[in-house]
């Protein structure tokens, strides 16, 4: 059995026999297929990896530098990247600054109670997906950890022993599963849904009428809310109401929160940086503080950096075009096992190993549980080796 690193579920039960992949979802299977690997390049010309690293070190040794990405590489490599940022007095940021980092931070600061997916499997009655479509983004979340499995106190199957709630702006694939013993709430205003819970707890008629039924189910015991990007953007930074809702829910029943979404090791990076600096992202080692304006996108748009090291991410594909356009104007070093779109505009490309194909390491699930990923084979240029070499040269 090997771990899949396709998303933050980090499914532990992948089998590969005679080239066939068993148990993985569509996205996970693609991790294990043969791929065209990136080649080391400098200014678009193929070279050897040592030359590429040397040129990268030159680029990163002067001016204002940002290190960005980091969410798909092992914790051991993330640690080195944080060390490199410290040495360079650079900015460091990951996808969590526009993804679910705010929720991870609330958990780490103890502002909302959280739990583990193993406890969810064994105990949870109400499974509440809010602004997230795990059917697509975390395809085995429901079958491996939350809704479908039988375990612990939940032995009678989802038809009787789970109550599914899906709140979304649209009837997503996950929402379509909300049939028997379930509710789909079509949300046009997430803050109103938060208020509805508070209204229902105060005995008033909630603005979203379905909340009264959901609350009565939550009162039966262990409930978990899985929040995604739809919830984050819907709350629009007004987290006080959200944390207040949790506080009051937990006065009358037992309700936990786990972020739902993100890359395979985003939480690993957030926790590492939090342990070192007290912040989870958007950090400047020069100023010793995290600020909204240190978000990677803003650093580029506001022309605050001269060069960037991109590792474990493909911002040209995943961030707004204006950000990519600005990235194209600065010196960019990409460390990636594959030919990403960002590598097409990079000054230097350094190929690395893909987890778990050619490198192993520690990864952290969305619920904060660490897992040790064993590689299928050991490749020479792992993220750890690339970053160690870079660190020695800058």
């Amino acid at each position: 059995m090997v771990f899949c690193t396709g998303c933050s579920c980090l499914c532990p039960d992948i089998r590969i026999e005679n080239g066939r992949v068993y148990n993985a979802c569509r996205k996970g299977s693609s991790i294990f297929n043969e791929k065209k690997r990136a080649k080391p390049t400098v200014n678009g010309k193929e070279t050897d990896i040592e030359t590429a690293i040397e040129r990268a070190a030159e680029i990163l040794s002067s001016g204002n530098v940002a290190i960005y990405g980091l969410d798909t590489i092992p914790i051991e490599a993330q640690k080195l990247a944080i060390g490199l940022a410290e040495e360079l007095e650079a900015y460091i940021d990951d996808n969590s600054s526009f993804c679910l980092g705010d929720f991870v931070e609330m958990i780490l600061r103890g502002e909302i109670p959280s739990t583990t997916l193993d406890d969810v499997k064994n105990n949870a009655y109400v499974i509440f997906y809010w602004g997230t479509d795990p059917y697509n983004s975390l395809s085995r979340h429901l079958s491996l950890y939350t809704y479908y499995p039988r375990g612990g106190k939940r032995q009678r199957g989802y038809e009787e022993d789970r109550f599914l709630v899906v709140a979304d702006i649209r009837k997503s694939h996950t929402a379509k599963l909300a049939k028997k013993n379930a509710r789909f709430i079509r949300v046009d205003d997430d803050l109103k849904l938060v208020e509805s819970f508070i209204q229902a707890m105060e005995g008033k008629a909630p603005q979203y009428p379905d909340v009264a039924r959901v609350l009565s189910e939550m009162k039966k015991g262990y409930s978990v809310i899985f929040g995604g990007l739809g919830l984050k953007y819907g709350l629009n930074g007004r987290y006080e109401e959200f944390t207040e809702m949790f506080r009051r829910l937990n006065e009358i029943t037992e309700v936990y929160f786990i972020p739902s979404g993100f890359h395979s090791n985003m939480r690993g990076f957030n926790e590492l940086l939090f342990e070192k600096t007290g912040y989870i992202n958007r950090y400047s080692f020069k100023e010793g503080v995290s600020k909204a304006e240190f978000e990677f996108s803003r650093l580029l748009i506001e022309e605050k950096i001269d060069s960037a090291l991109i590792i474990g991410s493909d911002p040209v594909n995943s961030l707004p075009f204006e950000v990519s356009r600005k990235l194209g104007e600065i010196n960019t070093v990409v460390v990636d096992p594959l030919n990403s779109l960002t590598s097409m505009i990079a000054d230097v490309v350094i190929p690395s190993a893909l987890t778990p194909i050619g490198q192993g390491g520690t990864m952290m699930r969305s619920d904060g549980v660490r897992v040790k990923v064993e590689p299928l084979r050991e490749e020479e240029w792992t993220d750890v080796k690339v970053l160690t070499s870079l660190k020695e040269m800058v």
Partner: protein, 122 residues
């Protein structure tokens, strides 16, 4: 390919979401499959029919003088009065944020936009 006889141009809200089909080919973003799974707008069938867009039509989405040609696919998981696109270079060419954007939609015909053409503009 002919279009329906109803609306020829409309302004719609587009939600950006994740899609497991697209995730499957994320390791080769220059492939034809990635383009087919990413240069796509999912419309609710009732909404699409009302506007005169048929499944498979190529339409142009336009916002702030930027244009992307994408294929219409029907999905009941789309907003009932809007569209949904997977997060990729195609949706990001039009948006300022990762939640969604407002764009005009009209018939285009011809080819889907290409990743390489957007990269050239960087």
């Amino acid at each position: 390919m002919k279009f329906g006889k109803f609306i020829k141009r409309a302004v719609i809200e587009v939600v950006i979401a994740r899609n497991s089909h697209q995730g499957e080919v994320a390791d080769n973003k220059l492939s034809e499959k990635f383009r087919e799974e990413s240069a796509v707008i999912y419309l609710h069938p009732n909404f699409a029919k009302k506007m005169g867009f048929r499944e498979g039509d190529v339409v142009v989405l336009e916002r702030n003088e930027r244009k992307v040609n994408v294929r219409v696919r029907y999905s009941e998981t789309s907003p009932e009065e809007g569209g949904m696109m997977p997060n990729s270079i195609f949706s990001n060419y039009l948006t300022d944020n990762l939640k969604g954007f407002t764009a005009s939609i009209s018939p285009a015909g011809g080819e889907l936009s290409r990743v390489e053409d957007i990269i050239k503009k960087i």
